[in-house]
C-alpha cells in the first residue's frame, strides 16, 4: 500500500473530527457567553433578573436600589427566624409536653413569619412597579410562585424544621 495515501486519508479523518469539535465548542461557547458575563457581575442574580425581565438600564438601577435597601431587613429577619428556630428546638428537646414557653415561642415565630411575608410582598410589589406593566405582572406571578410555593414545599412553618433551619439561608453569599 502507498504510505502517503494512507497518511492523507488519516489526515482527512482527523481533520473532520477536529472540525466537529471546533463547531461544537464554538456554538456552545457563543450561546453560553451571556451566562459567563452574568456570573462576572457583582450581583449575578440581579444581572440575571435584568436579562430575564428585559429591564432597561433605568429600571435595573431602580430595582438594584430597592434590592440593596431590602437586604438588611431580610438579613435581620433571617437572624430572628434562625434564633427562634434554635430556641424552639432546644426547648422541645428538653420537654415532654407543650409548655407555655414553647407556645409563646411558636406564636412569636408565627408573628415573624407574617412579618416576613408582608415584607417580602411589599418588596415584590415595589420591584414589579419599577418594571414595565407587562414584565411587572410576569415578575409578580413568577416570584410569588417561587417564594411562597418553595416556602410551603421546602420549609416547615415558622422554621420548625429538623435538620436544616432558616439559618442555612446564606445571606453572606448575596448581601
Amino acid at each position: 500500500m502507498n504510505g502517503s495515501r494512507l497518511t492523507r486519508a488519516i489526515a482527512i479523518l482527523l481533520a473532520g473530527v477536529l472540525l466537529g469539535l471546533v463547531a461544537w465548542g464554538g456554538v456552545y461557547w457563543t450561546l453560553t457567553a451571556p451566562h459567563r458575563a452574568i456570573l462576572r457581575e457583582h450581583h449575578p442574580e440581579l444581572a440575571w433578573l435584568q436579562l430575564e425581565f428585559n429591564l432597561s438600564p433605568a429600571e435595573f438601577e431602580r430595582i438594584s436600589a430597592l434590592h440593596r435597601a431590602y437586604l438588611p431587613y431580610c438579613e435581620e429577619l433571617c437572624e430572628r427566624i434562625a434564633a427562634h428556630h434554635n430556641d424552639i428546638r432546644h426547648l422541645v428537646q428538653q420537654s415532654t409536653e407543650l409548655t407555655p414557653e414553647i407556645q409563646s415561642l411558636l406564636e412569636e415565630a408565627a408573628r415573624v413569619r407574617i412579618e416576613c411575608q408582608q415584607m417580602m410582598l411589599d418588596h415584590f410589589f415595589a420591584v414589579s412597579r419599577a418594571m414595565s406593566p407587562e414584565q411587572g405582572r410576569r415578575y409578580l406571578a413568577w416570584v410569588q410562585e417561587k417564594t411562597f410555593h418553595m416556602d410551603h414545599e421546602r420549609t416547615a412553618p415558622a422554621g420548625f424544621h429538623t435538620g436544616h433551619g432558616p439559618a442555612d439561608h446564606r445571606h453572606h453569599r448575596h448581601h
Binding site: G25, E45, C74, T147, D151, D168
Partner: protein, 112 residues
C-alpha cells in the same frame, strides 16, 4: 456414422500436429507479473483487519465526495451538539439563578 474425435483419424496429421510450436514472444516482465499475481492470491486468504482498514481508509477518504460528505456530517453533528449542550446549560443556569435570586430575598428559603 461419425468417427470418434479422440481417435487419431489420420496418422500423418497427428504427426504433423505434434511437431507444431507456437512462435510467440512473451512480455519482458510476464514471469514477474505471474508470480506477483500468485502472491496476491495467496495473501488474500489471510488479509489482516489492519490491512483491510488501511485499504478502506485510503479507498474512502481519498474520494473527494466521500471526504466532503464526512466533513459536512461532522460539522453538522458538532453544530447540533453544541446547540443542544448550550440549551441544556441555559436551562440549568436559569434554575441556578432563580434559586440564587429567591435565596437572596426570602429569609425562609433554603436548599434542601
Amino acid at each position: 456414422m461419425q468417427s470418434d474425435p479422440r481417435q487419431p483419424a489420420n496418422p500423418a496429421l497427428t504427426r504433423l500436429l505434434s511437431t507444431w510450436r507456437v512462435q510467440s514472444h512473451l512480455p519482458a516482465d510476464f514471469s514477474n507479473r505471474v508470480w506477483l499475481r500468485l502472491a496476491r492470491i495467496d495473501g488474500s486468504a489471510g488479509v489482516s483487519i489492519a490491512d483491510a482498514l488501511r485499504h478502506w481508509l485510503s479507498d474512502v477518504f481519498l474520494r473527494p465526495t466521500w471526504s466532503l460528505g464526512y466533513a459536512l456530517v461532522l460539522l453538522g453533528a458538532g453544530l447540533l451538539g453544541g446547540y443542544l449542550g448550550a440549551r441544556e446549560q441555559t436551562e440549568r443556569f436559569k434554575q441556578h439563578m432563580e434559586q440564587r435570586y429567591v435565596q437572596s430575598i426570602n429569609p425562609y428559603f433554603h436548599p434542601r
